[in-house]
């Protein structure tokens, strides 16, 4: 067995994930390969150190307050849904507006199993129009987060990133707000950071829409986008 081969297998070997025959093969190789025995020992030591990753136990008061705090956030509308500060950030939405068109196009022809109209309403209402899409696209412009980018094919990714490169990004805005250091700027920056909610749940829904429903959703999305900007 070559070293590179065995390196990949050693982790599975330690975790007991190998089939009996493969385990026998690795055992035989370890019998004759000092390098792999050293690697096995090193990996086991790494795992034993990581087992010592001790997490503090919360005290009972904190656990007792957990549900009330969740309820408080739900009842107050939560920070996700306080959009009163949005008008002050209008330039951001305008500057990344071009990216929305790409986003819409990327979903326009997707099809799948039908979903209920209630779910479309949920997407529309809960995602609060197109703000999440804007934020995530802006977010992608300074992040290498492939989890999000993977939803787009290569040419779409390129188009999105190219489009965003020429517009104001979150970093630009953050730098600008940081430099000002006044109370309103700090507030805006904190709020902007707080509303970077992920788009995966919305994408899940879009993936399941048939073409007609997706069109309807995207139409609503684009209409609301015009109102906002």
């Amino acid at each position: 067995m070559k070293k590179t081969h065995s390196e990949h297998l050693l982790i599975d070997y330690i975790e007991g994930e190998l089939s009996a025959s493969l385990k026998e093969e690795v055992d035989a190789h370890l019998g004759v390969c000092q390098q792999c025995r050293d690697e096995l020992r090193s990996l086991k030591l790494t795992f034993s150190l990581l087992e010592k990753d001790a997490l503090p136990e919360l005290d009972s008061v904190e656990w007792a307050n957990f549900v009330p705090h969740v309820r408080q956030k739900i009842e107050s509308g939560g920070r996700f849904w306080d959009w009163s500060w949005l008008p002050r950030l209008a330039p951001v939405w305008a500057s990344i507006g071009a990216a929305l068109a790409l986003f819409i196009l990327s979903f326009y022809f997707r099809s799948g199993t039908p979903i209920s109209s209630g779910e479309i309403s949920w997407i529309f209402e809960e995602s609060f129009t197109s703000m999440d899409a804007y934020e995530e696209l802006a977010y992608m412009s300074y992040s290498d987060d492939e989890i999000l980018l993977d939803f787009f094919d290569e040419s779409e990714q390129e188009a999105i990133l190219n489009s965003l490169e020429s517009t104001l990004t979150f970093d630009d805005l953050a730098d600008d707000l940081n430099q000002k250091k006044d109370a309103e700027s700090v507030f805006n920056l904190n709020e902007l950071e707080d509303v970077f909610i992920d788009m995966n749940l919305i994408i899940d829904q879009l993936d399941q829409m048939d073409e007609q429903r997706a069109e309807k959703f995207l139409l609503k999305l684009s209409e609301s986008e015009i109102e906002i900007i």
Partner: protein, 183 residues
Amino acid sequence: MADDLKWVDQFRNGDEKAFNELIHRYKKPIYYVILRMVRNHDDAIDLAQDTFVRAYRHIQSFKGESGFYTWLCRIAVNLSVNHINRNKTRFWESFEDVPKPVKTHKGNPSESLDREELQTAIDKAIVSLPEKQRVIFILRYYEEMSHQKIANLLGKSVGTIKAGYFHAVKKLQQELADYERGV
């Protein structure tokens, strides 16, 4: 758990207490998954609460195809990854003054290390992982999820998960090498 669906259905039918039951059941595991990722108690408790707020608002999107806990984990992971990305600078600033371990060759190396120092080293090693590898590693190693389950949760192939896990372990091995040698 099987009766998660019962609580979900009851909540969908207007029983608010049913959602409290789900929070009670999963607040601790969700908090610890997040804490392992973000490495900060205050942030973890806040993100754990936000996970349930998000679940409350988006309960209609839970189809029951995966378990309720897996669905919650997905929300928690997404919130954590976003949080990690937003706070990269802050994470590293908090480790700037971490001292290098002092070399010693006496006794069992891992036992001879100062507990706090080792914990800091582990924190630093885990934070050094790219966020995707960090998520995969934590779900696999600490949550003991199968590659397949993680793949479903993250919407990736099993091969991608295995590769991510391998690279995460190699990186952690490298980061903790000084400690392994009893340094």
